[in-house]
């Protein structure tokens, strides 16, 4: 096994007995169980891990957790590859494969790096300025920009993994299991409340995991002993759910929390087995305790982005938690005391700490004192003004700061180093609090945003609340946990305050940009998106004032890290440029998710066949066996057409259409919406929901009805049958069955509660078989010998009950094709048997099953409209030429008044017409626009559009229905459908193409 050169000989929370091989950019390395990919890379001396988004500058690991903007890698391969994964949160497993992003052909030799030399040409907003003119070329530029810019590659294969989703309820949710979160969970759990405690890391403890344990104590023992005791106590409580590797990523309304639990991402493929990869928790919490900690902010100084420059807290975590030396010679650069702990811990681990460069002139905290005692040189009132090193930092230049902090003077001193640990203070992680819509307050002493008043049932505790000391974290956590449990209805006694011994911190000094004598030096604010102080200055110079606009113009905070390290620095710099106070500039909105969530987890099991319910009719299997092609109508699978061997779709549909007109066709119409309507006011109710009159309809008769919305626009149509004085059966279009039922219920419950009417959906209770054609009557007679089918006793638009193929049936004589037709309704369970009997009895007539396509052609030949095809929510019955169905004398109905509105009564509205193409073989595209005059190029005045278009085998030519401005006055006019290959000439005709007198219906 290869030596891990930067692995410390002892310490850390890693298992040295459990070595793990992994590859990075094709090279093989080893780390240990307990490592992250980042710590394992650093243990092997690999600091340069990726290139930046815009300038392709070499970048190294900056942080040690979710805040990481640089060390984003492509994990895995093939269908299981994941882009933009943070090396700092990726647990190392045996066989892990990772590669750098944003570089080509290799990390060290990257062609995109030329962008760095051209950086003067790529300022903020360069997309907008450079590539938008001429607009025509944008399509060309975009392709190259996207290729050059992409952050990693999305997998192109289907995701082979499974993802779970789980709903849960709890009394108290504790987010974060650092000292504050653990104290909160313990206090809440002791009351007997149902508690969830979640943390994004594999191990609970938060920042305690990064402690050396040398400088702090909890209740006379080591912090780690307290941590272990607390976790053990929580695991013993039966109502406490402990979820490691779980990120609470979104805080939604009414204390609804989205959480992503990573179940197998830390395991080699073989060990993951068939378990779900991740689980999305949808948790409803009565009370939430946010203990989300804080995120260190970098200092913004010249050339602050070289590999080897990292956050001081991260340096400390690498030393103490992972037993990795971040370098051999370190410089610490800080404005506060916390970085001295990093200096002390690195020194204790054998790293030569060259100096602590401190922006402050007075440095008096406990940790700086300990550092001095340990012999670490401290340069007070100094600043790093430049750095060197290409693929890794090789040194820093320091100079004395002036009193105002806006300039440097004196001699430049060079310090050699291979690691710079930086701290600009700590930002409370207020992301979830802000998502919960709580307002943030600015605390000027430490220049941080802290939670203000909660809007939802949430409270913040510890560092995320701006309380950074261990003692405060423990106390606030315990108080918050107990208070939350009490509000949720549980009782518990106040616990004794935990005594904590820790170093006292002195005040910090915020310099939002550290001065340098080199005016051209770049200072990076957002590492992931390569935003520098110059970009922010440019945005302000160009007039941007709102921080939200500056963000979008410069792309600050718009990377996958959402600016966790850069945002507060950016807005402070913008505030400085504007001469405004930081709170006046405000913060950009924190948005879910806190860290990226896989689409797989969001989709859960709702993929493939489980994406949406599939509805099939009782005759579905027959259609399948006969080789039908299906189309989706809502959730229904409907037979579309039945191609025979060697037939094209057109040939099959032509055959089906001809059979229906020449002999007999059979259609599965079971998907029609069916609503049973009863009650003493049923007829009066139908009078109000349909445009025509219903009170005089005889029992056993049916009628076609058209339904409008109250704005007068066509909503749905169908045939309704009167089964009794107070009993109707309404049919709706297949797609509107549910919405029409809801519509009827809404009017009954909200507008006309005085009407006694009851509506029940019976769509699935009946199988409906439609037969039509010249031989339809003979066919029905063959299977229903007891029924009397003569036109005199069974006229069009009437119903008879009788036995069909031995099954009690309700038969309607109706037609959607213009042929004699019967609609046979039987209980759904008998549908297939009756269908089979009809097919068998129809054999002598050459009975032909037809699908929805032939049905559409047949009805279009007759000019029958389909609600939702000819109408689109902007069409009145008058537009459709259906004035005949509007009864103006029966009283009010839904939509009546709207038909007289000035706009609906306009003469020049689009009206339904037929179109014939000049070439009878040309079939127009549905949706084609229609114009009077064709110009060279758009725009042209569009006067309408094609709504239905087919080839009609009965007419031997194409037919189309269209909605055309003042269409009914244009019969015989020549119009055009402009198409990419040239305009198609059409003539306006009547929309009824076939048998306009309707003689066949009674033939």
């Amino acid at each position: 096994m290869k030596r891990q050169r930067f692995r410390l000989p002892s310490g850390g929370r890693i298992d040295r007995g459990d070595a793990r091989a992994f590859s990075f950019n094709g090279r093989r390395y080893y780390g240990f169980s307990g490592d992250t990919l980042a710590s394992a890379l650093l243990a092997n001396g690999v600091h340069f891990v990726g290139r930046s988004f815009k300038y392709h500058r070499p970048r190294g690991v900056l942080g040690s957790g979710a805040e990481e903007p640089n060390a984003l890698v492509q994990l895995g391969a093939g269908a299981r590859t994941d882009p933009n994964m943070r090396a700092t949160t990726t647990e190392l497993f045996d066989g892990l494969r990772a590669a750098s992003q944003n570089c080509w052909p290799t990390l060290r030799f990257d062609i995109g790096g030329i962008n760095d030399r051209l950086s003067g040409l790529l300022p903020a907003g360069f997309y907008y300025k450079t590539f938008m003119q001429p607009a025509r070329l944008w399509k060309l530029y975009e392709k190259f920009i996207r290729r050059a810019a992409g952050l990693g590659r999305a997998p192109t294969e289907r995701d082979p993994d499974r993802y779970d989703q789980q709903y849960a309820h709890c009394d108290v949710l504790v987010v974060g299991a650092g000292p504050a979160g653990l104290a909160a969970a313990l206090a809440a759990g002791r009351t007997g409340a149902r508690v969830f405690v979640v943390d994004e890391q594999a191990e609970f403890g938060g920042t305690m995991l990064a402690e050396s344990g040398r400088h702090i104590r909890i209740r006379d023992t080591s912090p780690d002993a307290w941590r272990e005791d607390t976790i053990a106590a929580l695991e013993d409580m039966s109502d406490v759910t402990v979820l490691p590797r779980t990120t609470a990523f979104g805080y939604y309304t009414h204390n609804f929390i989205g959480m992503l639990e990573r179940l197998t991402d830390h395991l080699p493929r073989a060990e993951a087995g068939n378990q779900a990869r991740q689980r999305l928790w949808k948790l409803r919490a009565k009370e939430v305790v946010l203990a989300t900690g804080s995120i260190e902010r970098p200092l913004v100084f010249a050339e602050n982005d070289r590999p080897g420059i990292l956050l001081a807290g991260a340096a400390r975590e690498f030393v103490n938690r992972y037993a990795v030396a971040p370098g051999t010679r370190a410089v610490v650069f800080t404005n506060n005391d916390s970085a001295y702990a990093a200096a002390l811990d690195m020194a204790a681990a054998g790293v030569a700490v060259e100096a602590v460069i401190d922006l402050r002139t007075e440095v008096e905290g406990d940790l700086p004192r300990l550092a001095r005692e340990a012999g670490i040189p401290v340069l007070q009132g100094y600043a790093v003004v430049a750095t060197s090193g290409r693929h890794r930092v090789t040194g820093v230049t320091v100079m004395r700061l002036n009193d105002a902090g806006d300039g440097v003077s004196g001699t430049a001193r060079k310090l050699r180093c291979d690691c710079v640990a930086v701290s600009g203070g700590w930002n409370p992680a207020v992301h979830l609090f802000s998502q919960s819509r709580g307002k943030l307050n600015f605390q000027s002493e430490m220049n941080i945003f802290v939670p203000g008043e909660s809007v939802q049932a949430a409270r913040s505790a510890g560092a995320c609340n701006g309380s950074f000391s261990l003692a405060e974290c423990l106390k606030e956590g315990a108080d918050a946990g107990l208070a939350a449990a009490r509000v949720a209805g549980f009782e518990g006694a106040d616990a004794a305050t935990l005594a904590a011994i820790e170093p006292a911190d002195g005040p910090q000094r915020s310099l939002w940009r550290v001065p340098s004598e080199r005016k051209d030096a770049r200072m990076f604010v957002d590492f992931q998106n390569d935003v520098t102080t110059k970009d922010l200055d440019l945005a302000v110079r160009e007039g941007y004032r709102s921080i939200e606009h500056v963000k979008r113009y410069t792309t600050t905070g718009m990377g996958t890290d959402q600016g966790k390290t850069g945002n507060v620095n950016a807005l402070a710099i913008v505030a400085g440029s504007l001469g405004a106070e930081i709170p006046a500039v405000g913060v950009t909105t924190f948005r879910a998710p806190y860290t990226p969530v896989t689409f797989g987890a969001i989709a859960g099991r709702h993929v493939g066949g489980l994406f949406d319910p599939v509805r099939g009719t009782p005759m579905h299997e027959w259609h399948v066996q006969c080789g039908a092609k299906f189309e989706d109508v809502g959730q229904w699978k409907r037979a579309w057409y039945y191609p025979r061997e060697g037939e094209t779709m057109r040939q099959a549909v032509d055959r089906e259409v001809r059979a229906a007109r020449e002999s007999v066709g059979i259609l599965d119409y079971s998907t029609l919406g069916k609503i049973d309507i009863r009650g003493p006011d049923a007829a009066a109710f139908l009078n109000r929901v349909y445009t025509n009159a219903w009170t005089k309809l005889g029992v056993g008769r049916c009628r076609y009805g058209l339904m409008l919305r109250d704005d007068g626009m066509v909503m749905d149509d169908g045939v309704t049958l009167r089964l009794g004085e107070n009993h109707f059966l309404m049919t709706t279009t297949t797609g509107n069955a549910a919405s029409v039922l809801s519509w009827l219920e809404e009017w009954l419950q909200t507008e006309w509660p005085e009407l006694q009417v009851y509506c029940t959906s019976v769509t699935e209770q009946y199988a409906t078989i439609s037969i039509c054609g010249p031989n339809a009557r003979a066919l029905l007679g063959a299977v229903a010998p007891e029924m009397r089918l003569g036109g005199d006793v069974f006229p069009h638009m009437s119903m008879q009950e009788g036995m069909v193929a031995g099954v009690a049936a309700r038969v309607l004589r109706v037609s959607f094709t213009g042929e004699i037709g019967f609609e046979i309704n039987v209980p759904a369970r008998h549908g297939r048997a009756v269908w089979d009997a009809l097919i068998e009895a129809g054999a002598p007539h050459g009975i032909t099953s037809y699908g929805t396509e032939a049905m559409h052609v047949l009805r279009a030949e007759k000019g029958f409209v389909i609600a939702g095809q000819e109408s689109d929510g902007t069409v009145t019955p008058i537009d459709l030429g259906m004035d005949w169905i509007v009864n103006w004398t029966k009283g009010d109905f839904i939509g009546r008044r709207s038909l007289n509105r000035s706009d609906t009564a306009r003469e020049d509205r689009k009206q339904l017409v037929g179109l014939f193409t000049a070439d009878p073989q040309t079939v127009l595209d549905e949706g084609s626009q229609i114009v009077e005059r064709v110009s060279e190029a758009p725009p042209m005045d569009m006067i309408g559009h094609v709504t239905s278009s087919y080839y009609s085998p009965n007419l031997g030519r194409s037919i189309a229905l269209a909605m055309i401005r003042s269409g009914r006055g244009r019969l015989g006019e020549t119009l055009y459908a402009p198409m990419p290959d040239g305009p198609i000439e059409v003539t306006v005709t009547s929309p009824v193409f076939f048998d306009p007198e309707g003689t066949r219906l009674n033939g």
């Binding site: 109250d710 809801s742 809404e746 009546r896």
Partner: protein, 96 residues
């Protein structure tokens, strides 16, 4: 992801419900006699306030009953629930 308290079924996830928009919009009677403006007012004009809003909701995937909800459109807090045939309750300190 709101929780809506159905007067018949109790508090349920918003996914079970359908929001029917602003409540207490009277449909003009004697529709023929009212002018276009008054009809348009009924058809199209809605308050869309920031704050307290009287709405109609139906428990579409539950009891399928319609009822009224007073909801703060800013905070999404449900301030009151009452039946279809009831008058809006007095909510102290809020304009309706």
């Amino acid at each position: 992801m709101l929780r809506i308290p159905c007067p018949w079924c109790g508090e349920r996830d918003v996914g079970e419900f359908h929001c029917g928009g602003e409540a207490h919009i009277a449909r003009p009677s004697g529709a023929d006699t009212i002018d276009d403006d008054a009809w348009a007012e009924y058809l199209f004009m809605r308050q869309n306030p920031k704050g307290s809003h009287h709405e109609r909701w139906s428990h579409a995937h539950g009891c399928r009953r319609w009822f009224h909800v007073v909801r703060d459109t800013d905070s999404d807090q449900v301030l009151a629930v009452y039946l279809m045939n009831e008058a809006p309750p007095d909510l102290p300190g809020r304009s309706s």
